[in-house]
């Protein structure tokens, strides 16, 4: 589980816009860049080169 304090400040490393959790809590999504950052073992992987492009 990602703490609320962390979610409040987490941003897309590329555009710095706020990211939001997807429905099942497996990704943090940047709507502006259409990128999603994986969460593995509760660790957000906030690296641009690990982000997946959304269709």
């Amino acid at each position: 589980m990602i703490k609320k304090e962390l979610l409040d400040i987490l941003a897309c490393p590329k555009c710095k816009e706020k990211v939001v959790l997807n429905e099942d809590g497996s990704y943090l999504v940047c709507g502006k860049c259409r990128l999603r950052y994986p969460i593995e073992d509760d660790i957000p992987i906030m690296l641009i080169d690990r982000a997946e492009t959304m269709k």
């Binding site: 941003a11 490393p13 992987i45 690296l47």
Partner: protein, 273 residues
């Protein structure tokens, strides 16, 4: 020829005293060593940025989480960030076992995953020399600090006698400035072979790869240039410390020569506004 020279250098190298850096036996021991060091540093320098109780702290390049735990146990809400997943896993295990609540994310200091002005304090302890481009990282650290907040830096500059970060293997001070890289690698191979490490050649090549890619060769002068280019940051306190002999301290401030005698740069910065 190189091999013979490496053996000769090895024998001379053993005449130097071993650099005693604790906590290298295991990841857990390293976390515990970080914890002790972190506690000492915080008690020594906290006067510059005040109590951490209730503050939001970013520990950038958090390593194995020992120092991160110290900040959290001082009452701060701490986010530990490292680019290396293995470091984060050990950090979670160390702080989890202590029951210390900390948030961790994998991230890059040059493109941080945080909104502007998210933190009261950013700590970069033993990490500035490892960021690929410190010219990009320092302004990025400044971005995520609130106006009036602080950055606390602590790093080993390139000109330090221990600047190679290879002191577990090569004892010669300034070995990275004295020896060509091929010779360093050959000496490492001799050291590893004599330690009974299997595949010493491969391991020496790996250590040299870390040496080439894991250090940005930042000098004190370059750090000062970065600060000049980041006017939003003002220096509250700067201490240049020699690695072993405190009486050498005045030499640290001498241009050029000082680079060779500065073992640690400690900087406390304040974001204006």
């Amino acid at each position: 020829m190189l091999k013979q020279l490496a053996v000769l250098v090895y024998h001379i190298d053993r005449c130097f005293p071993r650099t005693r850096v604790e906590g290298r036996e295991s990841e857990q021991a390293y976390s515990e060593w970080e914890y002790r060091v972190g506690k000492e540093l915080l008690s020594r320098y906290a006067g510059y940025f005040g109590s951490l109780d209730g503050r939001r702290v970013l520990d950038i390049g958090c390593g194995l989480g020992g120092k991160t735990a110290v900040y959290a146990e001082s009452g701060a809400y701490v986010v530990g960030v490292d680019i290396d997943r293995r470091n984060i896993i050990q950090s979670i295990s160390f702080t989890g076992a202590r029951g210390t609540p900390v948030s961790f994310t994998i991230g890059d200091a040059e493109v941080l995953p945080f909104a502007d002005e998210s933190f009261d304090l950013v700590v970069a302890n033993d990490s500035l020399e490892h960021f690929a481009h410190p010219e990009r990282a320092l302004p990025e650290l400044a971005r995520v600090v609130r106006p009036g907040g602080n950055i606390f830096l602590f790093f080993t500059p390139w000109g330090s006698p221990l600047g190679s970060h290879l002191y577990d293997y090569i004892r010669t001070p300034w070995c990275h400035l004295i020896f060509p890289e091929r010779l360093m690698e050959a000496v490492l191979e001799v050291v590893l072979q004599r330690q009974g490490i299997s595949g010493p050649g491969r391991e020496a090549a790996r250590l040299m790869e870390d040496f080439r890619t894991g250090l940005n060769r930042i000098t004190t002068a370059r750090y000062h240039r970065i600060l000049e280019g980041t006017p939003v940051l003002e220096t509250v306190m700067e201490d240049l410390q020699p690695p072993k002999f405190a009486f050498l301290k005045p030499l640290c401030r001498v241009p050029l020569v000082g680079e060779l005698f500065t073992g640690t740069v400690i900087g406390i910065l304040r974001k204006s506004g």
